[in-house]
Amino acid sequence: MMWVRIEEIILKEDIIFIPQSLVSQLEATVSIRFGQKRIEAQVRALPVLMELGGETFEHPQTIQMTPSLIQELLIVESIHLQMMITEDGIQLGPVIGLLLGNENYRYNTAYMRRHSDILGIYHQVGGLICAFSPETIDWEKKSAYGLYHNYFNQGWEYGELPLPEVVYRRNSHTKPQPLHRLKQVTGGKVFNSERLGKWDIYEIIKDCEPIKPFIPETQMIKNFSEVDEFLNKYEKVILKPTYLSRGRGICVIERVKDDGKKLSINHYYSNANYKMFTMVGDYGKHFRIHDYRYFDEGEIFTFSSWALQTFLEKEDFFVTPYLIQPLLPLAKINGSPFDVRIVMQKNESGEWIHSGTECRIANHGNFLTNISRGGYALFLKETLQQAFGYHMNTELIEKEMLQLCYQFCQAMDQTGEHYAEFGIDVAIDIEGKLWFIEANVFPSFKGFKHMNYDNYLSIRYQPLLYAAQLDGFASQEN
């Protein structure tokens, strides 16, 4: 492998000029590969005086290509590439794509800043890092219109780019048809390939023996009797929309004693920004709803059984896919419940590794631990000691948690889809029992950013290292 930069040489034919030592390993005409682009070209030796560098990213060997080759391969001049001699010729790369969604009008340079943290190790990987929407792919030309990272300007620029060999997906707004085609074209090298809802994940792992004991009872709700059944069984239940993350759309219902207020709905109005209930007397069971859908703090209403049913029906809980689970009696610190976010990623050998752990503590008086809902992050050991005291064997708990996460990742590898990153939420209840809460395919790393910036960066870097090896290239440190 050699680090190279491309220089244009004005000649009419398709010719590549490389160091003499490499020419002798190749036929006179070879195939040159850059991402999905391939072209036949003649190989010639560079003048001996030009043979310089190539060992490091910082000192690449200059190689020359004729304009037709550069244009056909869509090589961007401002990048340093790795060059490999393969069985059928020369491979330049890596070409790594970040898959954007279908909102092309949003993908400006400011939007791309959210992806800039992963580029902190660009000098280890090199190549073309680009971002594109499946809607801008030219399947025939094997190219895509999008943005690429210009390391030397430290910015993102627009252009026509070769369709990558490897694609890192971190966006859920992708239509299935082009995504399916992209998976085919790359030979399955689109990682984090499927967006999975909470229910989809539950369906995959519910019969997985090692994980089963850690999953709380879960059901997709279709009517009120299913909610009522759960409420007869558990004092508190949580309703979660299957396709939303960051604590959005959540409602907690708790059974309460009849306090004589006897409330019911007789008038109801709601839209996305505002809602109103007028209540009159009613008898029967009573429930308190903590509604986190529109309010960060969780608006609290007390309902009779009939009123609860009306509320759930009117608010489309049986139309939008929602699942119900018992609200677990989570361990607390300073009165606030917490859960644990564990990041699992694939390393350069394609093995699952544990990249980071954070405990997410709910904002005071809140059930939701999400950082975006006012929660904050702490280290695991510190949290467990505060919650359970210093006698607790925190190493054992951590070992059990990681074991559970590895088992989850292995189960996901059996699905036939390609995953390389999960944010797995586990929790410990007040008795110290471990629970599997949910897993996110496109997790947020906000808590890590505040808690341990170095750990945050290593989490952001890992997919780039994984992608490079998937494209057949090593990183400089390795």
Binding site: Y105, N108, T109, Y158, H173, P176, N273, V319
Partner: protein
Amino acid sequence: MELGTTGKDIGFLVNDDGQQEQIISNILDKYQAASLMNKDISISIFTLNNIDLLNRLVYTKKVFPSNQSAGAIKIPSIIYNTSVHYRKNHIRKLRQLFDDPAITFINKVNHYDQEMIYNILASHSKSSDFLLCQYSFDLDTLKYAVQEWEHVFLLPVNKPDFKKMIIITKSSYWDPGDYLIFLGEDVWSCEKDQVLNDTLEMMNDDQYFIVRGIYPLNWKEKKIEARVYVQKIKMNEWRVIHMIAKNDFMGYNHCFIHETHELDAILQEIFPNTYQYVIDKFKNDSIRSCTHLEKFLPDLASCYLDYLMDEVGNPYLVFFSGWEQQEWLSRMKDQSVWTQYWGNALSYLIQQGANKVKEGNI
């Protein structure tokens, strides 16, 4: 009736105010009913508020051909969007529609980040002659620009509007102060050490980007703002529909009301010898821009480009937008242009519907 079951359901997503609905209804009433019946195509007109996402229905008053009854119908599989939305819940709803694999949008949005448009066009080597030299905003760049350039344009990132554009020029011999700053209908003169502060104040915390300006061409003491309307007529074919000259902002010592003129006529008067070259340049630059932008914004099908001109008639792009919301075209004496604009959109929508049926995608 569920129109979706016919597999040829298409529709216009229009603004709430009823004006766009009225225009397209009139066109459909007059010209298209018979032809729609022949093609077995149903067209509905609706607003975002008419869409019930949960039940995947549209509540519409009008479905064409007019012998079909309206009411609750399936959300059309191809939607031409002529509306603009600013409210958060509307944008959220629109984004949910974009995610739906069964729906194809034409002109997904009609409002673009102007700096993004500039950046995309700058990636095309042939854009360089009608794009002004552009920089992201920062104070150091502004300071440099004000010192070194005769004319500095600050273009609003989110509002393609001449009234929001800030122009900083070095004062002439007879002007007061060192600099003149123009914003919409106002002009300030200021001293050298005040120009940055005054500019920042005028920016009012809005986002701008910096462009090396030109001295814009005047006609009858007014700056000429040229607007070129471009539409996609069929796959891979963009066409300039019309070009107008308008006055949307006021220059120093000028006082006028909003006016619309045929650009051709004005150019012919100003450049009697080079008129054809100038007109062709406007057309070619606009087509070239749209052809390039479409590669990055594949749903684009109706748009306009706003230019200023230098003294020899070279156009310089200032703003770009999707479906026009101010409807300057409707103010032209010749109303057939306005009808044609809508008619083209309708034809393109019908064509896309027919293509999709042919491809078996519906």
